[in-house]
Symmetry: D2
Subunit: 349 residues, 4 copies
């Protein structure tokens, strides 16, 4: 600015939205780099957990109810695959988002000299953004794509945090966290503050994304009301996602399954968790509907007598090989899903 002969070319033929949108994308480029790195680090920790616990049996729960057996690693793989899909989406996201903006007052580049396309392309090359070869003042597609990705990252972390909140509950305690919040008044209490905060961030992201989507109904060539809405919601959404990622990294680094609690949880089902498996084992000897009826009756009986289901099975179907119902043999594809995920992370370039 000390060189007035050059200073006059600052903001020359551009509109303030060109400057702001281009600057935004330069910052988003850095943000995506940081998020990429954080996601990969988190994925490596998740892959380690998934690999180490590929065969750690646990009760899989649906509707909050003990359903069938799965493995801790398989659960981690669900969290991880959602996030790995989002890492896979990054190259296309960068292509569709990191655009230069330079098209002047109303998007026509009319005072950018004889070859405005060339000026825009040169600027794109100079700052390392993509040249969309058009004006996008009023086309908020790049913003929507960026917001969708940030929201999806936060939602995926929110799903993971919800699961952890459930597992840290008193009465379950199937995982432990390094960092717990102390209670101000109850000395015995350890509050799962990290997953609580991640869920809160995921709640925020869903609302901010809705506001941004509304603002994509950008009126005419440039729309102050819509654009100001972005100013308030997009940076906040990005920080929300970034914050959730950082918290998740710390949380997962300090997360460990509680082997004793996982095992006790299986025991506490009184073998009811094997009901489906027993049905299918019996179905080798009779039509499945009949097998299902038999098992339903045995479940009823076990509940009435307050005894373990396998006891009833042993007495009523002595020919059935009970060894097949050991937890380790009831994990189905869980171990292999866990290892597949770990391998997927290894192969992330």
């Amino acid at each position: 600015m000390q060189a007035p002969e050059h200073a006059q070319y600052l903001h020359f033929g551009a509109t303030s939205q060109d400057i702001a949108d281009t600057a935004l994308m330069l910052r988003v480029r850095q943000l995506l780099g940081l998020q990429d790195t954080a996601l990969r680090a988190l994925l490596r920790d998740l892959a380690r957990l998934a690999h180490d616990h590929a065969e750690t049996a646990m009760v899989a729960r649906t509707y909050g109810q003990s359903a069938t057996l799965s493995s801790f690693g398989a659960m981690v793989a669900v969290w991880g695959n959602m996030l790995a899909d989002l890492v896979d989406a990054l190259p296309a996201l960068r292509d569709g988002v990191l655009w230069v903006s330079l098209s002047g007052a109303a998007g026509t580049g009319s005072v950018l000299g004889p070859d405005p396309d060339r000026v825009r392309a040169d600027l794109a090359a100079a700052v390392g953004l993509r040249d969309p070869k058009r004006s996008w003042h009023a086309d908020r597609g790049p913003i929507l794509r960026l917001a969708a990705w940030q929201t999806q990252v936060t939602a995926a972390l929110g799903k993971m945090a919800q699961d952890i909140l459930i597992m840290t509950q008193s009465g379950l305690k199937t995982v432990s966290l390094d960092a717990q919040g102390g209670s101000s008044t109850m000395p015995q209490k350890e509050n799962p503050v990290q997953p609580s905060a991640i869920v809160a961030l995921a709640n925020m992201a869903a609302g901010l994304n809705a506001t941004l989507t509304q603002a994509a109904q950008h009126r005419e060539a440039r729309d102050g009301a819509a654009w100001f809405t972005e100013w308030m919601s997009l940076p906040q959404l990005c920080l929300t996602a970034g914050s959730a990622l950082i918290l998740s990294g710390t949380m997962i680094a300090g997360l460990a399954p509680n082997a004793a609690a996982l095992s006790a949880q299986i025991q506490n089902t009184d073998d009811m968790i094997l009901a489906e498996a027993i049905t299918f084992a019996l179905a080798h000897k009779m039509p499945r509907p009949d097998a299902a009826d038999r098992v339903k009756a045995m479940v009823k009986e076990a509940l009435a007598q307050d005894t373990r289901l396998l006891e009833i099975v042993k007495s009523q179907h002595p020919d059935l090989d009970l060894a097949q119902f050991e937890p380790a043999k009831q994990l189905g594809s869980a171990p292999h899903f866990a290892r597949d995920f770990a391998a997927r992370v290894s192969s992330l370039t």
Copy 2:
């Protein structure tokens, strides 16, 4: 179902979510096909408009204010490019969404026989969906990606409809629509019902997508509350997008620019719309800041004398070639943006 020896294998080893999610994706496949077709038809109509009016000068407005000149075709190209980007996104979307689900009660496929991966892959091949090679009961990534695309389509149509609502206003009338709603009590009135409805659908989509995003915090192996939330919001979101597409197709087929009104709108700016162009023309003869000051002064004078800006320019800068300020010469890249878009649509396979 008349063959009980086969009927027992219906729903064998699957959970109801496998059936429902797979059925959903079969319907989504059809939906995306219909939307793809509708989008391409709409794009062809937009391309025709953009091509035919690549050089039809119009006042580009920012913050609702006359800014600089552009062309009708360039405005249409903004609408169209947003939509064409969404057509381009369809192959990746289909890959990331149209997945088979077959992983049993808690996602481990434990009673799907000795090779559950094979069963799932075979089912995928049989129904023509992609095999994700894992369970996605609790990974709602595919749903989020689908919802984001539907929401982005509706938002893009909403932007177009907002522009049309502005242009159909009394006092502007720069476009006409084939189908107008009559007033129940005012015989002279024609209500722009189509764009109003499209904006309403875009409003709905933003809210439904937020609800769906919230539901992606799917708890444990399967979550009734989250899943039921999807049931209420996802079909509605898809219908919202589909409805907006159909309405947009009809609306654009009946849309025509009003040449006289576009031209009058330019005239009514009293050449003020040329202020930026005049500044840059003067900047060839003096530093740009000085040129800007001169033009500001002339604008003030023109307003005070209630005369056209070019009259003032002619008297104060007689050496300036006024021919360069004819609308047709002030369109900048607008015609070429319009034609680029038309060419882009032609090359859509």
Copy 3:
């Protein structure tokens, strides 16, 4: 309509929004009546539960962690008081919502004869709605107030349903529900479908209310886009709230606390749940900070020795009267909060 001399006065001087908004309010009046009745019936069932279990000790949980003792009735009172506040809000809501609309094409009543105020007031009296003494075509305050109430009802029911979802979890089972959904494949499983559906409805309501709020930015004298948005979201929001109310009524009628499980849950805390109470008991003999330190140390010791906290207390503070730590004596205001709520419901006119 067979009397043409009268038929001409149908829709005379009114606009379609007058007809539609007045008709809406006639239906909303019925809706609020039904919801009022359903809320009162639900409150009576909650009051009975609160009264009957005012002293049924249970573990109160914060952050999912056992915190201190409370009573089942006190928890029910929290649910009920939220709803009773909403019943209390009904008279003001009716006043601020159930308005007649009759102000013609653009809200001035210009062709409603010499005394349009009188016509509007007479119509209001005839159909039993309130006369707002003005036009509210573009003032969507009544809609926002109605929507806020519907959303608050659904959110309150959602809070109750979330609590019930937690209590029906495997490993807790502190409540039982009459109606459970069977699993398609796991005979032992009972899915808490009712509270899952209520949470889903509460999720929907939050999103629909956001869409409606957006539509309250009603442009000019009447705004098609905003009004159509209401058409899609308001009836759905009302049905969502109504549906959640009906489901909640059935759910609560079939809900019972599981005394054995509630008691076992207290036992399973190894007296840790008394830590705060012990601190305050000790604080009678030493400064509270010292008491807190002592209890922290004893909690640590109990965990290390895997023994009950009161065992440690007995050995280290033999002078402390342990009888004061019986659950029944640790309920604080819980029983009285439960009974206050029951009394509040009794006194609802």
Copy 4:
């Protein structure tokens, strides 16, 4: 804190949520006071505008189309009445929101001494908040009510700002604003930055309120995830509303109708805006359906001949007194609605 014998009673028997929620309400009390004052100041300015322009004829527009005549004051009254209703709601809001919280770890006040109700009531009296006579840790009704009011205020201001954005458009300019944003590159341009920002704030508020509503599904006795969501959204929502109020105050203080433009807008309708009035005038001489048909035909003829509608009326219905169609005589209840609103503001205590 220099008095350890008293310091130990700080946070005695309370949980951190008691402290935080009570502190929140102390700040909300101040906030509502400031907002009350700001709303009344804004209402006074609106009342002045409504009173001064009770008879200033303007074109009322529906669907963006010239509909019938109204007055500038009547439009202002619509804005103002929405806001006055919200001022009227303040006493009940304060009652239902400004609550003390003091119920300890899990809401039972169990370590607040022999009479926890008395302690809570005394604290309420000491800090000047209402005693709800119960715990509301998990009953977020007060938060929802506060958020609904903040959102409704912002939505009402958003409606006003949308109208002003339309009226400041090039081609209309029926109002002028004191403070306009200059364009960085177009010297003739004045951007309506204030109403744009207010609309953006109203967009934000709708999203933040949805997030808060979601968080009202507060789990169990205290829910970290839900509470943290409030921390992020409630203060922001309140600031959003406060900011919109301040901006609106400045905007309305600087707003003036443009008499010449309002009058030209009426002229430019070519009397079409009188079509409904003519229909009803003719309906004194023939059945209304016949009158409607006649006017439709005359409208068509006027459009075809590009002449004013009253010219056609004069030639075809020479007996009709045209003086009744002067704008000043066609305002219906508009002037009286405007004055009623001004009187309402005067009588606000």
